[in-house]
């Protein structure tokens, strides 16, 4: 098996209040077949053997579905290519290349340590309306409502969001509109989601603003980095739904 060599610039920061700085590491003899996170594992285990503190980074599934991993690789949130940081492979880099790894820089995602940030703002947005209110046991037979395949497929494409936060990290305004739009589109397309449609968009957008995310000014950097391939159309859908929600509220049609 062939090996490669990289020059790494890794962000170290003890805590949210700490200054933080890049450390420089020569990563030698990295198997060319390994993934980016496996390369970081190797580096961390070497640091550990030398009695130094490894660089903290988050990951879990390592197959691009859980949304745990999050970092900016050479300026790109979630790294080069499609997919999450855990799906980046070293063979995509050239031998000897300098690679800079830093955390997401989003005000609403405070830094926890090194490359790890706190993305709980996204959970709070969902809690404010990103669901269909129902209660277990009260559901009608699943076949009672027919949902044409194109509608089901479009809902699925929006539902594929892994909640990784790369959209906000890529956006010059730190907007979370791709994330919010994905959920509003997923539920808004389905017949089950109609009852709360207007209220949902309105409350999610309000929470998004309260959390300190910016607005969309059509850069589409979010779409470019989204590992789940969520399309920017969901933002147009969100804008429509939000305006409808505001109007309905103005005339007293929702509380």
């Amino acid at each position: 098996m062939s090996t490669m060599h990289f020059h790494l610039r890794l962000w170290k920061q003890k805590s949210a209040t700490d200054q933080g700085e890049f450390i420089e590491i020569d990563a030698k003899e990295i198997p060319s077949e390994c993934s980016f996170l496996e390369m970081l594992d190797i580096v961390n285990n070497r640091l550990t053997r030398e009695g130094k503190e490894p660089v903290s980074f988050a990951s879990d599934c390592r197959e691009g579905i859980c949304g745990t991993c999050h970092m900016v690789i050479n300026g790109v949130p979630q790294g080069p290519g499609r997919g999450a940081a855990c799906q980046v492979y070293m063979r995509k880099f050239s031998n000897g290349q300098t690679i800079t790894v830093e955390p997401y820089r989003v005000g609403a995602f405070p830094i926890v340590k090194d490359l790890v940030v706190n993305r709980s703002a996204y959970d709070r947005i969902i809690r404010s309306g990103g669901f269909i209110s129902e209660h277990t046991g009260g559901a009608p037979d699943a076949s009672a409502t027919l949902i044409p395949k194109p509608v089901a497929d479009a809902a699925m494409d929006a539902a594929a969001c892994i909640g990784c936060g790369a959209c906000a990290a890529a956006c010059p305004n730190s907007s979370a509109m791709l994330f919010v739009g994905a959920k509003v589109t997923h539920l808004g397309l389905l017949p089950q989601g109609q009852a709360e449609r207007k209220k949902r968009a309105r409350s999610m957008v309000r929470t998004m603003q309260e959390e300190g995310f910016g607005n969309c000014s059509n850069y589409y950097a979010c779409e470019a980095v989204c590992p789940a391939g969520v399309k920017a159309d969901v933002i147009s859908m969100l804008n429509r739904e939000y305006i409808r929600g505001e109007l309905s509220e103005a005339v007293g049609a929702i509380d």
Binding site: M1, K14, S15, P31, E33, C34, S35, L37, E38, D41, I42, N44, N45, T48, R49, G51, E53, S56, D60, C61, R62, E63, I65, C66, G67, T68, Y89, N118, S120, Y122, D123, I126, R127, S128, G129, G130, F131, I132, E134, T136, G137, G138, A139, P140, A142, S143, T145, L146, P148, K149, A152, D153, M156, A159, A160, I162, G163, H186, L190, Q192
Partner: protein, 637 residues
């Protein structure tokens, strides 16, 4: 100790209904007074938390992930079973029940499995009403695919991301309840011990992974929904963080651990490529609907797959199991792959691989259809291996995937510790010695949405006026013990990274307690695990402190528990002197190499009780009574 499964009286088909008719109810006013701790937010934990909160209980939910949505369930690909019979292909509750019992090689409890099949349809209804975008036909009906061990199409799916969509459904229900203030959610919180008061589970000790703070939490009952222990093998298809700590700590407090040696090796995973590898990637079983498994007939054939003519290929599953073919159950498909590789007919690096070939399906259905069905899996495969499965067959090899063993529970999902309930993959209850594909998602959601809301009253109705608080000495004492364990880990100050110990443990368990197990091998594994454990406590390196995010410390705690648990697994495998399902003892096989069960001795659950450090665990048995089905030799020929 006698294990009482508390199975309701009456005929199999009536047990669950009669249970529900006679179950102890807790009035709405009283539900508000009871507090429930749920550990875990996978399918089991999220669905249970949401449903119990809807019912009015005070719920506190914990997970070690930074968001409940990231639980390992998110990674399930292929689908979820339900006996809806929308395809009109002869499916029924009975058939799903029977397939599951048979798939489990007649080592599961009839009553539990029947209940699972019974509620399976409700799960699909529930998920659809939450907005889970299951795959549909052009006319709008739900569509199905087939999974191993079944001759009907009963698997519902959402692309190759079924687990993600089901978990996001449960997560949205949970989020709604958190938003309403009915569930208190604790993320980044790892349960490190269980607190018992008068022998009842009444709380937990938790470490905050971000701050290192250790705290105690009290409740009227505790639900463990903490997933499986596949990562004892280090390399598995499970997420990196999946671990045995919660159930192992409960074991050490008195919960019996059942059938730990029942583990599932999944036949279709991307083969291991090197030492640096941190996990293995599953290629969903659904691929076997359209992929054909083969190896060259000749040993050491180094030609490219496309250069090997049809007559020189051995489609060994189709040959050996003509009626199920490529859809033979997992344990059988995995063992067959190992056999052909052991014969020297494996393909790819090290000869540890077999082909999964889609060319016939692409010819029949067109590339577009295949892309639609499996596009994301093909992409994942290409990303990892650099090869396109549209152009050449995938190379696959078995990998550890799921654990059927788990904490012993009765029909009410309560463990041998009163008040401790166990749901989802963490319990042992429904899959016997082998789980059928698409049945884990079904079980996790059945337990959380439909079983525990009905069975919890059996325990809680005995707990009026028995409130506990974290001021009690039991809480303080357990907390002190947890602190001491964390300190002890930090005090080792060795030089060997945690991962190294985990990898070595994985190798021991994979080699001796993997696809084939022998008496000599298991004995050796037990002594090797002990030696490794000793080394760990002398040499492990954990830089940093305990009062911050310290990922080495997190992992060290989990590996320390795996190092103890691995031994129990091997002890169980050694004691079960038969082959059944995923447990294959080389001493017990038929002339043509199939698993040989010994029903006269082993139609029993083996549950192990902790008897103090340094002492052998005690074996207690639950006899499996088959009243509705006839114990038969499994045949998929």
């Amino acid at each position: 100790m006698i294990l009482d499964a508390k199975i309701p009286e009456g005929p199999l088909e009536k047990k669950w209904t009669s249970f529900k008719n006679n179950a102890k109810l807790i009035s709405p006013a009283n539900k508000r007074k009871f507090k429930v701790i749920v550990v875990g937010t996978g399918l089991a934990g999220s669905s249970a938390s949401a449903t119990l909160a809807e019912l009015g209980y005070q719920v506190e939910t914990f997970c070690f992930h930074d968001s409940p949505r990231r639980a390992h369930s998110i990674a399930a690909q292929g689908g979820i079973n339900a006996a809806k019979n929308y395809q009109n292909d002869g499916d029924s509750i009975w058939r799903l029940f029977y397939d599951t019992i048979k798939g489990g090689d007649f080592r599961a409890r009839e009553a539990n499995v029947y209940r699972l099949a019974e509620v399976s349809g409700n799960i699909i209804d529930q998920c659809v009403s939450q907005g889970v975008p299951f795959a549909r036909e052009y006319g709008g009906q739900l569509t199905n695919r087939s999974f191993g061990g079944a001759q009907v199409s009963r698997t519902f799916y959402a692309k190759g991301q079924t687990g993600q969509q089901l978990l996001l459904g449960a997560y949205s229900a949970l989020s709604a309840q958190i938003g309403l203030g009915r569930v208190t959610m604790h993320e980044n919180s790892e349960m490190l011990d269980l607190v018992l008061v008068d022998g009842h589970a009444k709380g937990i000790v938790v470490r905050n992974l971000i701050t290192g703070e250790i705290s105690t939490h009290a409740a009227d009952t505790v639900l463990l929904c903490t997933g499986g222990y596949s990562n004892v093998y280090y390399l598995s298809t499970n997420a990196r963080g999946s671990n045995v700590t919660a159930t192992w700590r409960a074991f050490k407090r008195g919960a019996a651990f059942a059938n730990p040696c029942y583990t599932q090796i999944h036949p279709t995973c991307i083969p291991v490529a090197g030492d640096y590898q941190s996990k293995l990637t599953l290629m969903s079983e659904s691929l076997r609907n359209d992929g054909r498994v083969w190896v060259p007939k000749k040993k050491g054939d180094s030609r490219l797959p496309q250069e090997i003519p049809e007559e020189e290929r051995d489609y060994y599953l189709e040959r050996k199991y003509p009626s199920y073919g490529n859809l033979a159950p997992r344990d059988i498909a995995s063992r067959s792959a190992k056999e052909v590789c052991d014969e020297g007919r494996g393909v790819g690096p090290g000869g540890l691989g077999v082909y999964l070939d889609f060319s016939a399906a692409i010819g029949r259905l067109g590339e577009k259809t295949i892309r639609e069905r499996y596009g994301n899996l093909f992409e994942m495969y290409a990303n990892i291996t650099g090869e396109s499965a549209y152009e050449r067959p995938m190379r696959i090899y078995p990998a550890v995937h799921y654990t059927m063993g788990g904490l012993w529970v009765d029909y009410n999902l309560m463990s041998t510790i009163p008040g401790l309930h166990v749901l989802g993959e963490a319990n042992f209850s429904d899959h016997g010695a082998n789980r059928l594909g698409a049945s884990a998602l079904m079980q996790g959601l059945a337990d959380g949405y439909f079983v525990i809301p009905n069975t919890l009253g059996e325990y809680l109705s005995t707990q009026f006026g028995k409130k506990v608080s974290t001021d009690m000495p039991e809480f303080k004492k357990t907390e002190t013990e947890v602190r001491a364990r964390v300190e002890k880990l930090l005090a080792v100050k060795g030089t060997v990274p945690v991962d190294e110990f985990h990898r070595l443990l994985g190798l021991i368990i994979w080699n001796e307690c993997g696809m084939a197990r022998s008496e000599a091998g298991l004995k050796k594994a037990i002594s090797d695990v002990r030696a490794l454990r000793e080394r760990f406590w002398k040499e492990v390196a954990i830089p940093g402190t305990g009062v911050e995010l310290n990922q080495s410390l997190e992992r060290a705690g989990r590996v320390a528990d795996f190092l103890e648990f691995g031994e129990l697994m091997c002890v169980d495998a050694l004691t079960r002197e038969e082959s059944c399902g995923g447990h294959f003892r080389v001493e017990h096989q038929t002339a043509d190499g199939e698993a040989l069960r010994h029903d006269d001795k082993f139609a029993e659950v083996y549950a192990w009780m902790f008897k103090g450090e340094g002492n052998d665990p005690e074996l207690v048995r639950e006899e499996l009574k088959y009243e509705a089905v006839h114990l038969a030799t499994r045949s998929y020929k």
